[in-house]
Symmetry: C2
Subunit: 341 residues, 2 copies
DNA sequence: CGACCGTCTGAGAGCGCTCCCAGCTCGGGC
DNA sequence: GCCCGAGCTGGGAGCGCTCTCAGACGGTCG
């Protein structure tokens, strides 16, 4: 009757006109319909249906100052790790939870320090309500950058101690998981339990080392070996360990990839697992854990759940704008017993 | 002088006031400064600088109807393939080119048919200017879905013939690359050239088969073997081939992963490469190609470039709203000669 | 039967920006 | 010296939506 507006998308105005109510009432209905009497609600809904009305996002954002979008910041070195199913799972969790919150995932890919300006501008530009980032390396300057933009942010993984900004994060209980793994080896009667550690610049590796030492307070430094989370480094470390301490009878490896390397070395040297050496990994990475011989005992972390939690934490941050930053979350780990220990 | 607006972000109004010009002029400067005299441009720029002004995206979108965002639609089965560096590279190319166009990448993760409604609503909701999608499987109903939303879209990979919607796409010259590979084997004097093909529901695999037949019109069907793009299937196919046709002296494999499997079989059987059997792969996938023994001759496609091209095509689509859909692009491939053929 | 109150509804004022158009300035041509 | 046009600039009207606030409506209570 009023406007025909062919081609262009219908506006709230049109819906209101068709339903015979005011724009305000139509708006109320579209946003849940609280405080509007049933007959009117129905009329408006019908109009929405008939017109195929979809709210204009920009207009809504303009007044509410909410975007319904969250940035996921991925730094170049991390993206490589997309091959790491770990990361993929976490992003999947994030994506799912974001969908549940009617929010979109805007991927911000940082190629290097040269990109920091662009990212800062974007983050500061109010395009997104909040950000999700991952802290992988101690030397990463991203956390500081993000801190400066003041945008609500949640980290995946505990940021290095150095960055003193109090950002909430979600992390697995690396230390507790490590403790459980080592205790399990102890309970198996193992006396000389070694640790093949991950890189020193990642808090997850550090925490797992701490967990190891929590249980084995006086562990012989000779039983400690440094790796870098790659399969190859695990194999090498195991060889080193075997040479140095032939009496090693248990080993807790900081991740499954290294553990699989260690297993390879063990096999090549004719060491029986778990009879001679019991081995526990970390991550419960499906692609590794299923294929090793013997099947690997490892510590599982709910990676997808961590991704979801990151989103929930962020949403809470956004809703309690005034309040304090919510506490970080440490998700529990579970020991998955298989054949290797 | 006028408004102090502490805390809140400065508006164009504030910039204009500080520069002593009108909002309109300030807007012109912010958007390039065409048609504004130099001294005013400087004044406005200075004001922008001092105030730390960042344009409000929502307000701009509201009037221009441009979002500066593009959806990248990733269907679940594909995401698994993130471990496939192929996909990662393509997304990297997309991300880079999008950045160059000042556009954002909104990741739309489709979990299954149940998600189609949500995706359609989002795409139809004017949140993004266009979409980028990948066509991997013939049976995928995503292309049809996207076609219905009317949103400008570019596909990565040629959609299956079945979907008759004329969407522009970017694809490598699979057929031409295959021809080149086979011709190379022919030029090496090989007489019995086999083909290990990829899955029938992917156009890339189909096109490579066609390329093989282009050169070897009367190829013995016994020299054809079906694989599914996995390493394992390549190994199996090669074994089959060797049993069936011991006189095979050349093989063109539809991707590097299968080729690496084939190479393994060849080695296990004591067949010398390239002396007894010359082998050519496809993709030039760094993680495979570098590690095989002998180093693999293969067909390279510029995957990152394809990602970038997808974005450029989309941008052209957006700018020539009225015009015809731009033609699809087939990017050239190059034969990379190494040791295996 | 009138005063009062709670519940709904609608008018209207923006949110911050772009862009059309009117108007002003200034230089050049006659 | 005057007129005209080119080149700039600013006023103002929205873009589509939310949200405040006041008014309308219909009961209820005294």
């Amino acid at each position: 009757m009023t406007e025909q507006t062919t081609g262009s998308r219908p506006t709230l105005e049109a819906v209101a006109a068709r339903a015979g109510v005011s724009r305000a009432t139509a708006s109320r209905v579209v946003n849940g319909g609280a405080g509007v009497r049933a007959p009117l609600v129905d009329k408006v809904r019908k109009a929405v249906e008939e017109l195929g009305y979809v709210p204009n996002h920009a207009a809504r954002t303009l007044v509410t100052r909410r975007n319904g979008a969250v940035a996921v910041i991925i730094a170049e070195p991390e993206f490589r790790i997309f091959s790491d199913p770990f990361f993929e799972q976490q992003v999947r969790g994030i994506s799912r939870e974001l969908t549940a919150h009617d929010s979109q995932l805007v991927l911000l890919w940082v190629e290097g320090p040269g990109d920091h300006d662009r990212i800062a501008r974007y983050l500061g530009g109010g395009h997104v309500d909040g950000a999700l980032a991952f802290s992988l390396h101690n030397d990463d300057r991203l956390p500081a950058l993000i801190g400066r933009t003041k945008i609500p942010t949640v980290f995946g993984g505990r940021p290095a101690a150095g960055s003193d900004l109090a950002v909430p994060y979600v992390d697995a209980d690396n230390r507790g998981g490590a403790r459980e793994a080592v205790r399990h080896l102890v309970s198996l009667g193992r006396r000389n339990i070694a640790h093949i550690a991950g890189p020193r610049d990642q808090t997850s590796a550090l925490d797992r080392i701490d967990g190891y030492h929590d249980v084995l307070v006086d562990a012989d430094p000779g039983l400690f070996c440094q790796g870098d989370f790659t399969e190859e480094s695990g194999a090498r470390a195991m060889a080193e360990l075997l040479d140095r301490r032939p009496d090693v009878d248990g080993v807790f490896v900081s991740n499954d990839l290294m553990a699989s390397g260690a297993l390879r070395t063990l096999r090549e040297r004719g060491v029986r697992v778990p009879e001679d050496v019991a081995l526990v990994g970390f991550d419960d990475m499906a692609s590794v854990v299923g294929t090793t011989e013997p099947a690997m005992t490892t510590v599982r972390q709910d990676v997808e759940g961590m991704g979801r939690l990151m989103v929930r934490l962020l949403m809470r941050l956004l809703n309690e704008a005034g309040g304090e930053a919510p506490a970080s979350v440490i998700t529990p780990t579970t020991l998955v017993r298989r054949a290797s220990a």
